[in-house]
């Protein structure tokens, strides 16, 4: 038997060849996200210290111990800094472990990165795909073996995803690491991943499994209690898949979803659950906080401060989880609490209390300072009487005497907080002004890299050049951070202040929790009301099933039409702004129409809606001015609208849409209804037949429904007479 197997293996040499290949890894040293701004404007995320050691070291140390022989570090934003750091580190001189860097300035997403790596043709076998902000101590052996075995049997099994048990909070719908809750469907026998959803969209109360899924698998487990570790074991096909599908950007949102939805190629993703070992990715400030605590509490052993794994300074573990490096000068009266790390040659003044915090090297902390749950990096000066709770202070920050940081504050490099200044909760302070050019949401995701680097190198130059200059500029912004303060408080992004607590270093305050609990309850009620998850008793008809199903379908299409309308509106507005040619707009709307499977009546309705919205938005002071706006818009875009009005039915749809607008979203139009109708008639957008048919249809309607018919009675009358005359 054994001999036979060997013989067989020799014939098909490939799989064994792959097994003998040294294991490779791709480490993405760029998160392609902006969650760590403003810090990441000045330093790449992978070099940010995590318990006094730059994050990338945890990842590299784990890769080395897991048996990876060759790591390609993909650098994008601040690539120079990453490369310089690695060149000066000991990673370049390890035996049996080679670290190579790949630099790119154009990649704006993980997808771009992998496409570039594919072009370089450096990956020859299975590889580990990981981002440089991952901390783990798991053993890869088993997962790797499983992956290889599967691959031998089925060459479509291209990826194994590492997952871990972690139940998100039922209240905030967030995992412990501050990431959005994740819904996965996994085949319990084969561990194949069948469904993956990590959207923060809480509006949908249900997840929807395709019926084909259940037809093929008699048993499926749907999980809400797993966490994605963002460690993937991939076959080389993954890279080519990224190249084939040039629109794949995000590893999960595009790639994983794409593979799951695509049943033509039939590529499969599997999961491997780890139980006793640690794996977590630092995705946001919350996970930074949580992972730091896990490291201090030694869940990540051997990657803990008192074990030298990457040339970190000797640190001793004392009782109660206190780690102290050498040369610390500490006043007798200072109280340093449990689970605290204090870096090399830091000075701590008298009566200072520190607990659950990490303090870097060369910091100077004055007297009567209170530090709780904070992360203080290197060379920070904290003067007497300051108070900090749950804050992050980057290198070189100076807190003048008596200043206070409320929970959730992030102070980027070299910020100076003025005397007795109180920084409000969740503020982000940086020497760099907040970038103002934030295009669309989509771009924001990847913006960090390209726009960041250029702008930064110049600014950084100025920062480093002369302190004088800074103080000069700070004079202007003096008010912002108190007397002597230097830096800008960033305005919270559109997401709003409300969402800030979700990803902050600070724990979620209790009152917030109570508030959300309430909201969640209300939410659920809402979901049940309009989601037809629970049809109210009254609507139940004896033939329940078919009835509910109908509702469901309606619900779907309704959703779709809302999205469709929004998309059309966005397209239209963009067209207006950028002066896009009508033909091109028609092309775009047509493609939207196809993708949403809408009729031309829907298009007409949506376009008309957007036009009226535009007219409404154009500043106007009186009704007549508004009417003029409408006339203008209609004149400019009549060709567009006309192209979706092949028939009377569509025209009636437009009238109905207009009526609906007048009643609901844009009441301003309601007094003008008849006049605008007339305009539409004059511009030959509506034929008289359409108007008359509409009036006829409304004949039997409720009185309330007839308001606008009455309003336009004159016009209708006139049209009727005209048509009779013609006859």
């Amino acid at each position: 038997m054994g001999a036979q197997k060997k013989g067989a293996a020799r014939v098909s040499e490939d799989p064994d060849d792959l097994a003998r290949q040294p294991l490779q890894a791709i480490l993405l040293a760029d998160s392609f996200a902006t969650k760590f701004r403003p810090i990441t404007l000045e330093r790449p995320k992978v070099l940010l210290p995590l318990v006094n050691i730059p994050m990338i070291n945890y990842t590299l140390a784990w890769l080395e111990s897991a048996g990876v022989a060759e790591v390609f570090v993909f650098c994008c934003a601040h690539s120079r800094q990453v490369i310089d750091y690695l060149e000066n580190s000991e990673w370049y001189s390890q035996p049996n472990f080679s670290v190579k860097t790949i630099e790119s300035h154009h990649s704006i997403s993980a997808g771009d990165a992998l496409r570039l790596i594919y072009e370089r043709n450096v990956i020859h076998g299975d590889f580990v795909l990981i981002s440089g902000d991952t901390v783990s101590n798991m053993s890869l052996t088993q997962a790797l073996q499983e992956h290889k075995d599967r691959k031998k049997k089925d060459d479509k099994a291209v990826m194994t995803m590492i997952i871990k048990q972690s139940k998100p909070s039922p209240i905030t719908h967030q995992s412990r690491l501050g990431t959005d809750e994740l819904f996965m469907a996994i085949d319990p026998n084969t561990k194949q991943l069948l469904y993956y959803e990590e959207t923060a969209d809480h509006s949908k109360g249900t997840i929807c499994l395709d019926k084909m899924l259940l037809a093929e698998n008699p048993s499926i487990s749907v999980h809400n209690d797993k966490q994605d570790c963002y460690i993937d074991i991939c076959s080389p096909e993954v890279l080519s898949l990224f190249t084939d599908n040039f629109d794949y950007q995000h590893l999960r949102r595009h790639f994983v979803k794409g593979l799951l939805l695509d049943d033509i190629m039939g590529y499969k993703i599997y999961t491997h659950e780890i139980h006793s070992s640690y794996a977590a990715r630092i995705d946001n400030y919350r996970s930074y906080d949580i992972v730091s605590k896990d490291i201090i509490q030694r869940w990540t052993y051997p990657y803990v401060p008192d074990v030298k794994f990457c040339g970190n300074r000797a640190t001793k573990l004392e009782r109660q989880g206190m780690y102290r490096a050498s040369e610390i000068v500490q006043s007798r009266s200072a109280q340093v609490g449990p689970f605290t790390v204090i870096g090399y040659s830091t000075r701590i003044g008298s009566n200072t209390k520190i607990s659950n915090s990490v303090i870097g090297e060369g910091c100077t902390i004055g007297s009567n300072v209170l530090i709780e749950g904070s992360y203080i990096w290197d060379n920070v000066t904290i003067e007497d009487g300051c108070e900090l709770r749950h804050a992050i202070l980057c290198n070189g920050v100076v807190m003048k005497a008596g200043s206070v940081l409320k929970p959730g504050v992030v102070l980027s490099f070299k910020v100076v907080i003025g005397e007795h200044f109180v920084v409000p909760a969740y503020s982000k302070v940086s020497l760099l002004p907040q970038p103002t050019v934030e295009d669309s949401d989509e771009e924001l995701e990847y913006a960090d890299s390209s726009s960041g680097t250029v702008e930064l190198s110049s600014i950084q130059g100025t920062v480093d050049q002369s302190n004088g200059k800074i103080s000069e500029s700070s004079e202007v912004h003096k008010s912002e951070l108190g007397t002597g303060g230097v830096g800008y408080i960033w305005a919270t992004s559109e997401g709003g202040h409300e969402e800030e607590w979700r990803h902050s270093v600070a724990p979620i305050p209790a009152d917030k929790l109570a508030e959300i609990t309430q909201a969640v309850n209300d939410d659920q009620e809402l979901v049940t009301q309009d989601g037809t998850v629970l049809t109210p008793a009254g609507e139940f008809v004896s033939d329940t099933n078919s009835n509910v199903s109908l509702d469901d379908d309606n619900e779907d299409s309704k959703d779709d039409s809302v999205y469709f309308e929004k998309e059309v509106e966005a397209t239209f507005l963009r067209a207006v702004e950028e002066n896009v040619k009508v033909d091109l707009v028609i092309l775009e709307v047509n493609s939207l129409r196809l993708s949403y499977n809408m009729t031309s009546a829907d298009c007409a309705g949506a376009i008309f809606y957007s036009m009226m919205k535009l007219a409404l938005k154009t500043p106007h002071s009186s009704a007549s001015e508004l009417q003029r706006n409408v006339a203008n818009v209609i004149t400019t875009w009549q060709k567009l609208l006309k192209s979706y009005l092949p028939d009377i039915d569509e025209e009636i749809e437009v009238i109905l849409k207009f009526e609906e607008m007048c009643l609901e979203s844009a009441k301003d139009f309601s007094p003008l209804f008849a006049r605008i109708l007339h305009v539409l008639y004059d511009k030959e957008i509506l034929q008289e037949d359409a108007i008359l048919r509409w009036a006829d249809e409304k004949e039997d309607a409720d009185e309330s429904d007839k308001v606008f018919v009455k309003q336009s009675e004159k016009l209708i009358q006139w049209l009727r007479e005209a048509s009779e005359e013609e006859d």
Partner: protein
């Protein structure tokens, strides 16, 4: 046990025509020469559930069923027979007899269930979790359709399985999702809230709701009162209870507002403190279920949400559990109870693996194969062959007759040279010489004239 049992025996179901008729309601269809209802009643008796209400659709049918029960089960069970109008649905049937229900919990069993899954175990699971409903689930039978009514015998060729889509928690004790009927043909939509509470849900399409439910009586009545449109327990009431378990709407009126979450649904009548103790002891035996965890606020504060539990009892694979709700299943069950599931019929097999009543007469060179049954007083001529078939009482069968994979009921006369394959021949039918039937159903009292050949047809007398 304070359990009342309701057996829904149905009436003269249309799917089973021409097998059922006014004279033979569904409950009295013979399975291995015993009315199908007797299987349920004996199963209940075996589990010491003796307080039974049999609900029959239609007065006539009720009279017939009642007559039979009073003859067969006098002194053994305390059975009441109640008649309800036809087409009220299972929910309507319970509504109609609600005033008879007094016990804390009600076990509702379909009268067409042929099974050896102990209802006592279902009742125990129900009590253990203090659930509002416990449904018995069994694995999907290997052959034959179907969802009651939705598909006729035509769908025979459909691949087995897919009666329900059922979601359960990882411990397989709680029911989190259920789709029946038309729902299973669509995409499955799962409420996130339930998933959040439970963490994990195993979705199975290889299980079937066997229509044996334990309900908390008060809850059942409340739901039926409030939702007067609910027609079927299986398709309306159970899915409703499962869907709303994380946001129970039960007892919002009537009971005081400050009811403890785990006290919801507890019957106010009876020795409450005693009951409390008991359920607490039982509850402590296991980890608190996610329902309790979910119902409490963030810091274990007072319960903020009302929940109720829907449990499932999964019959083990070696148990037999099939419902007689189609002609195909009628044949399957008949074949099974004299075959592999013969312990259900109560007959013991002979050395040839068949059951031949001592009073039956066989002609020369007549063979009766294994897994066959020949009823009392039946006579067979020469050179006959019977394979995997049931033949009822007092049948007269001529010579050279072949009966394969068929069911022949009582007092049937079969002429010489007939061949019957895969068919059901009801009582008092007369088959004249050389009749060939393949996959046919012949209604009671029908006469098939000599030499006819039928394939896949349903033959019945015209209703008078």
């Amino acid at each position: 046990m304070d359990f009342q049992v309701v057996v829904l025996a149905g009436g003269t179901s249309k799917e089973l025509s021409p097998l059922v008729s006014k004279e033979v309601p569904k409950a009295l269809l013979p399975v291995a020469n015993r009315p199908v209802l007797s299987y349920v009643l004996e199963l209940l008796e075996l589990n010491n559930l003796k307080d039974v209400i049999v609900v029959v659709e239609g007065e006539d049918a009720a009279l017939r069923v009642g007559g039979w029960i009073s003859g067969a089960y006098v002194d053994r069970l305390h059975v009441e027979v109640a008649a309800v109008p036809e087409d009220v649905g299972t929910a309507g049937a319970i509504r109609a007899i609600a005033h008879h229900l007094t016990a804390t919990d009600v076990l509702v069993v379909s009268g067409d269930l042929v099974s050896d899954v102990p209802p006592g175990a279902v009742a125990a699971a129900h009590r253990r979790h203090d659930a509002v409903v416990t449904a018995m689930l069994c694995s999907v039978p290997v052959s034959g359709p179907s969802e009651s009514g939705s598909s006729g015998p035509k769908d025979k060729t459909k691949k087995p399985g897919r009666y329900n889509i059922i979601g359960m928690d990882p411990t397989k004790q709680f029911l989190l999702y259920i789709a029946t009927g038309a729902g299973i043909e669509k995409d499955t939509r799962i409420q996130k809230s339930i998933l959040r509470a439970a963490g994990q849900m195993d979705i199975r399409s290889d299980l079937m709701d066997a229509h044996m439910y334990a309900f908390k009586r008060s809850v059942l009545q409340e739901v039926l009162d409030q939702k007067d449109k609910f027609h079927s327990l299986k398709q309306d009431v159970l899915p409703y209870l499962v869907r709303s378990q994380m946001r129970s709407e039960l007892f919002l009126n009537g009971a005081p507002q400050a009811v403890q979450a785990d006290e919801i649904g507890r019957d106010k009548v009876g020795s409450q403190s005693n009951h409390m103790m008991q359920s607490q002891i039982l509850a402590n035996a296991s980890m608190p279920s996610f329902h309790e965890l979910y119902s409490y606020g963030p810091n274990g504060s007072a319960p903020v949400r009302r929940t109720h539990k829907c449990c499932a009892y999964i019959a083990s694979n070696n148990k037999y559990c099939v419902r007689l709700n189609s002609i195909q299943s009628f044949m399957d069950i008949n074949r099974d109870v004299i075959g592999e599931a013969n312990h259900l019929s109560g007959y013991s097999l002979s050395a040839q693996n068949n059951i031949i009543h001592p009073s039956a007469e066989l002609g020369s060179k007549t063979t009766v194969g294994p897994h066959c049954m020949l009823g009392e007083g039946s006579q067979m001529g020469d050179k006959c062959s019977v394979k995997r078939s049931v033949i009822g009482r007092h049948c007269r069968i001529g010579s050279n007759v072949k009966v394969v994979n068929s069911v022949v009921m009582n007092h049937v006369t079969i002429g010489d040279g007939c061949s019957i394959q895969g068919s059901v021949v009801c009582s008092n039918v007369q088959l004249q010489e050389r009749v060939t039937l393949k996959d046919c159903q012949v209604g009671a009292g029908y006469v098939v004239s000599a030499g006819c050949e039928y394939k896949g047809e349903s033959l019945a007398r015209k209703e008078k």
